[in-house]
């Protein structure tokens, strides 16, 4: 357990656990709404925040949070009000954010592409005490929202139209999901990096739902997967000198593959059981299915 010795590793592991919890906790709602790539978009926008942080000589984490929140609110508004060309507006936002980040960081006297790359792909040794404080505060917010409002966020993400008719403040909840996703991106930025943040929001959820039948089980399993891979990736990168972000994401994909292989016989058994349950009663006419009516960008 000598990886626990250095102070920077203690900070890195704490940050990793917080990322492992928060990223899938928010990601599950994005996946539920079929907006799995939204985290990626926010990551791109957050780059401008990092650049701005270097240029203004203030904390890149807080700057990135500020810019990512603004960007995610813009994306949510485009999604809600945009009609046909919402995808193009989002593309402009993504690429504008990335280009802005690269430009700003090169303009700043202290920043360089090397600095930027630690934000793009994550870097353990550079997680400062200040970063850990910021990450802890932000992670607390994310957990409070995603667990405390799970019934409401579930309803809104499952069927937005129905949720409106229950009288829930749907617009506010949508914005809350967007803001929480943005905060999560900046929480995860130091550990997995901006380019791979979205993977940690989506892959553990995808892995979990290979086995689970319920939302609750998917949530728990996704967070457990998230914690496992972030810890394993962090420790591996300590011994092997590989970037933690890439290692974490590849572990997550590994778990996805293992769970998918495990799930195949399980799914077959469930299908057989379901067939046996219905065989003696109602012969069913196969239902016609229209294309999903809630395609979102």
């Amino acid at each position: 357990m000598d990886f626990l010795e250095p102070a920077f590793m203690q900070r890195a592991l704490l940050a990793a656990v917080l990322v492992g919890i928060t990223a899938p906790a928010v990601g599950i709602y994005l996946v539920q709404r079929r907006q799995a790539l939204m985290g990626d978009g926010i990551g791109h926008v957050a780059m401008t925040g990092v650049g701005l942080g270097f240029l203004l000589n203030s904390s890149p984490v807080w700057m990135a949070t500020l810019v990512a929140v603004a960007g995610s609110v813009a994306m949510e508004l485009i999604r809600a009000y945009g009609k046909t060309r919402g995808d193009l507006a989002l593309a402009l936002l993504f690429y504008g954010g990335m280009a802005g980040g690269v430009l700003l960081i090169n303009l700043s006297p202290t920043g360089s592409n090397a600095n930027l790359s630690s934000y793009l792909f994550g870097s353990l040794s550079t997680v400062s005490t200040e970063d850990v404080t910021a990450i802890s505060v932000l992670a607390a917010f994310v957990v409070l929202v995603t667990v405390g409002l799970r019934k409401q966020l579930f309803a809104v993400s499952q069927d937005e139209e129905f949720a409106r008719v229950t009288g829930l403040p749907v617009r506010a909840l949508n914005l809350l999901i967007a803001v929480t996703a943005a905060v999560t991106v900046t929480v995860a930025m130091r550990v997995v990096g901006l380019l791979l943040v979205s993977a940690l929001m989506v892959v553990p959820v995808a892995a979990a739902q290979q086995l689970s039948k319920s939302f609750r089980a998917t949530f728990v399993l996704a967070v457990a997967t998230g914690i496992t891979v972030t810890l394993a990736g962090t420790v591996t990168s300590y011994y092997q000198d590989v970037p933690p972000g890439a290692t974490i994401v590849l572990y997550a994909i590994g778990i996805f593959i293992v769970l998918t292989l495990l799930a195949t016989p399980l799914a077959k058994r469930r299908a057989r059981a379901a067939e046996a349950a219905t065989r003696d009663c109602d012969a069913q006419v196969p239902a016609t299915r229209r294309p999903t009516d809630d395609v979102k960008v």
Binding site: R34, A155, A274, C281, A283, Q284, V285, A287
Partner: protein, 254 residues
């Protein structure tokens, strides 16, 4: 209880973009009544329902729910809504019980789940005959069972008024029967119902009154049309959208 109608729509007009979809619709649902909203595709029946629940803004006219102007109406637990959907599933697995539980949010938007909430959810699932599958993922269900889940979700708040948009779309025969008997029980308990239908089908005996829309106008309000199927409706006259000249439309616009 007062005798005012549960739904009262007066001279409602609405547009999607520049195209007028509702052009002065009057529609009343009295307490305990079952009203079917019929019409061909594009006649405005879904838009009418979506205007009533506040999803489509009106450009003119008024809508009242339980005697309260729709914009000031907050008592959503009295309304059970079944949107036009062919699936109850989304991007993450969810059990039937989890989806139906969302229906209780109109009673208690924030706060803990109570024993009463749980009982109401179980009762709603029982009403649509899915009790033995309550713990199954909705994605494992057939099209008709999806529709039953959506209806159970609407029933979970124990509403006085059910608004259903095409509840029979893509539903197998077995499920149609179950839906019809579920509705019969609700109506016997005094629930008012407004439902959009393409054709009357197995629900016909339940329906007190039919309102037929055509081009955003009410062309029939009275007993359900005798002949079944949309081909017999006044709104269905085999005029193709690209065919030249629609005298009814030009006459009513002026």
């Amino acid at each position: 209880m007062s005798d005012e109608p549960v739904i009262s729509v007066r001279g409602a007009t609405a547009a999607l973009g520049a195209r007028p979809v509702l052009r002065g619709v009057d529609l009343t649902v009295n307490r305990g009544e079952v009203v079917a909203l019929l019409g061909a595709n594009g006649s405005g029946k879904s838009t009418a329902v979506r205007a009533i629940i506040g999803q489509v803004p009106l450009t003119g006219g008024t809508i009242e729910l339980f005697g309260t102007e729709r914009k000031r109406f907050r008592d959503w637990a009295r309304v059970g809504y079944v949107p036009q959907r062919t699936t109850a599933a989304a991007g993450v697995p969810a059990t039937i019980r989890e989806v139906v539980s969302s229906g209780r949010l109109s009673r208690r938007r924030f706060g803990w789940t109570t024993r009463e909430d749980r009982a109401a959810v179980e009762r709603a699932i029982e009403l649509v005959g899915l009790t033995d599958r309550a713990r199954d993922s909705v994605s494992a269900l057939s099209g008709g069972q999806h529709q039953r889940v959506l209806i159970a979700r609407a029933l979970a708040s124990r509403p006085e008024l059910l608004i259903m948009d095409e509840p029979m779309a893509g539903v197998d025969l077995a499920s149609q029967e179950i839906l019809a008997s579920t509705l019969r029980e609700q109506v016997a308990d005094g629930t008012s119902v407004l439902l959009v239908l393409h054709e009357l089908g197995p629900l016909e005996p339940l329906i007190d009154r039919a309102v037929v829309l055509r081009d955003g106008c009410v062309v029939h309000d009275g007993p359900p049309p005798e002949a079944l199927g949309q081909h017999a409706l006044p709104g269905h006259d085999h005029v193709h959208p690209h065919a030249a000249g629609e005298p009814l439309r030009t006459g009513l616009l002026t």
